[in-house]
């Protein structure tokens, strides 16, 4: 007898046209078709979505939280990337 668990899928839902798909959780399903149908039943019982993506969890690669400080460090000291870094004279409009 096959005792294997159905694979785990991560579910992403677009709430409405024009918005990004957003991660909402995960579920088990035998294949992608079933994962999409289950995602509809689990995560959109009240019209929370117009589109669903599913990705097998094993296919997700993530940055390591222990390295987060060093990893994101290059952006930390570049204040000049933000518009508020620049002084604009009061008399200048539309900038």
């Amino acid at each position: 007898m096959n005792q294997a668990e159905w694979p785990l899928w991560e579910v992403f839902i677009r709430n409405k046209q024009g918005l990004d798909h957003k991660h909402v959780g995960s579920l088990h399903a035998a294949d992608a078709t079933m994962a999409i149908q289950n995602a509809r039943d689990v995560y959109t019982r009240r019209l929370e979505g117009v589109s669903i993506w599913v990705v097998e969890s094993t296919h997700i690669h993530a940055s390591n939280p222990d390295d987060a400080e060093a990893f994101f460090d290059p952006a930390a000291d570049k204040v000049y990337r933000h518009p508020t870094f620049y002084d604009v004279p009061d008399s200048i409009k539309h900038m």
């Binding site: 005792q3 294997a4 088990h28 035998a30």
Partner: protein, 319 residues
Amino acid sequence: METLEKPALTQEEQFQARIDADVRIEPKDWMPEAYRKTLIRQISQHAHSELVGMLPEGNWITRAPSLKRKSILLSKVQDEAGHGLYLYSAAETLGASRDQMLADLHSGKAKYSSIFNYPTLSWADMGCVGWLVDGAAILNQVPLCRTSYGPYARAMVRVCKEESFHQRQGFEVMQTLCEGAPAQKEMAQEALNRWWWPTLMMFGPKDSESPNTEQSMKWRIKRFTNDELRQKFVDMMVPQAEFLGLTVPDPALKWNEERKAYDFGEVNWEEFWQVVKGNGLCNADRLQARVQAHEEGAWVREAALAHAAKRKAREGVGA
């Protein structure tokens, strides 16, 4: 030269500092083993409660008094299944396996809320389950939307959004009965008599006998103690029972002007522990129904896997 050396924080101290700053903990972050274990226990128990919680209400789906009530009840039971799934998925982010969690439920090793070990004898019990039991669940769950573990908090936000409908439909069932014939009102009163005390037990043992509370509060898994929530519940529910014209079955219940809260009688803790230990009216039935559903579904799970494997192989040939 000035030495700026501070004693380095241990991993555990850094973790606690993040909790104290209300920074959420996410799945791959370092966490103390005991934090992980406590969460797996609590989240899986919570998931099991949702799953077993379908049984007492499922009992009434075929006998709901109207098509409207039947559709509502069916939706509610589907929501409970959904809540169970959100929660299992949150527990899995901590490394727990779904099969193992279910095996622990089925073997009796894992617990679920004792409230579901009471029988649902009349239609009014459906009203009480929604109004009282879900009312108590909401009080427990709303603070969990801010619990320190991210996936659990996010699952709880989704649960709480849906739970409010559960309570309102229950109150409506009670209100309809209370405004009906004397026999209907009596049915409502009897249901309240049966459910009031078991609902108070849902908040768990007294603070003085709840050894996990202190650590759980420190880790911000829990935000209120059992007794605090129980008091809140009584204060919230008594006026609602009065509105319905029902009597709360507690002779000691009395408004305390000084505390601005109700004094109420002592829960029968002997009964509470008996049900927790598996000796409640329906413990055996509930577990048996769960195990049977799981076993009878085994061939479906296997067939779906076999089908998926076959299709994959076929696609492989075509490519």
